[in-house]
Point group: C2
Chain length 207, copies 2
């Protein structure tokens, strides 16, 4: 995991070496980008590196999961669950916090969320109790929920999870919906996979 | 520079929002990678985020330029200038610390370095005194230097800088060399630019 140039006498100080090696392990970065980022931060060190360090220390200390929905936040309850303007009757179930953030960027949904924290997987031995599925069922009993939107990935695991939740909620009589499948906005048919084209054709609608 | 989802009620806590926005401004990262890195760090926060924060704070406080060569280091003199095993008679002149690191990864050069900190540029009004060129000339007077290797970029600015330094050192009688130009290792002729092919042909050598 060394970023090179260490054997046969060091080129950089140990501190810089360790920082680069640690950053190189972050997702989406590698030794090359880590070196670039660290050099950039050192050059502007009058401010940026120290500022970033203190931001990180702060988040490291305070970030935790919202007790209601599982979103990541700096308090016990996240801003979305706290927001009285958001419809509490609609719960959008997502696999991961990253998916919640993605939906929020779209700004189409104004209800509440529920983060599962993963997908069901027989292979990886992930069962319902390993995810926040029992919490979801408890929430539906407590809050006055009218619709559960399953915004899960269109993968085998995602759809297995969606199916399981839909079954588990069937006795409650609550409307359970899923995201529409079809051609993405701006998508060219020629570049789409067959599965998407088939799904879009099956779910065709009158214009 | 917000990474989205902030207007119309916040999704994330301000701390996380600021951390993502700051990371998104780093070279090679963007809002998407910044979100990914921050989420990753929060999930493993038991250790990694706090560790990275303290590494950064440390480097921010200690990193500085080597007083001799301009390499970035945690002390007044860098490990390369301190290393008695390295030939002090050869000085390899590079534009930037990143270039020094790149050369060290190759491990072909066992002398000392001199980091200019940029290239001469009439357009950007960067003259010799804005770079470490006077320091280089002073070094050559002080140290017993026999060869100066100009490992500068094969760009107009790089070659202008090389030319200027070669001229400035001409009266000293020291050997001034430049990197060879030619076909990169593993390079296929078909994919090379004409300039490189021409240079490689001109500098052809007997086998």
């Amino acid at each position: 995991m060394s970023s090179g140039g260490t054997s046969g006498g060091p080129t950089r100080s140990d501190e810089i070496e360790t920082l680069i090696a640690t950053m190189a392990r972050l997702p989406g970065l590698g030794p090359r980008s880590a070196r670039r980022v660290v050099l950039h931060l050192i050059r502007k060190r009058a401010g940026q590196m120290a500022q970033l360090a203190s931001l990180m220390a702060n988040v490291a200390e305070n970030a935790r999961e919202c007790l209601v929905c599982g979103n990541i936040t700096g308090a016990d309850i996240c801003p979305i669950c706290e927001d009285p303007a958001r419809a509490s009757g609609e719960i959008c179930v997502v696999t991961d916090v990253a998916d919640l953030w993605a939906l929020e960027r779209g700004r189409a949904f104004r209800g509440r969320y529920h983060v599962l924290g993963g997908s069901l997987s027989a292979l990886d031995e992930i069962g319902p109790e390993d995810l926040r599925i029992p919490d979801l069922i408890a929430r539906i009993g407590d809050e006055r929920v009218t619709e559960v939107i399953l915004a899960l990935s269109a993968t085998v695991e995602g759809q297995t999870t969606a199916h399981y939740i839909a079954e588990a909620l069937a006795p409650t009589g609550i409307t359970v919906t899923g995201l529409a499948q079809g051609v993405p906005i701006g998508g060219e048919l020629d570049y789409l996979d067959d599965g998407t084209i088939t799904a879009a054709l099956r779910a065709r609608r009158k214009l």
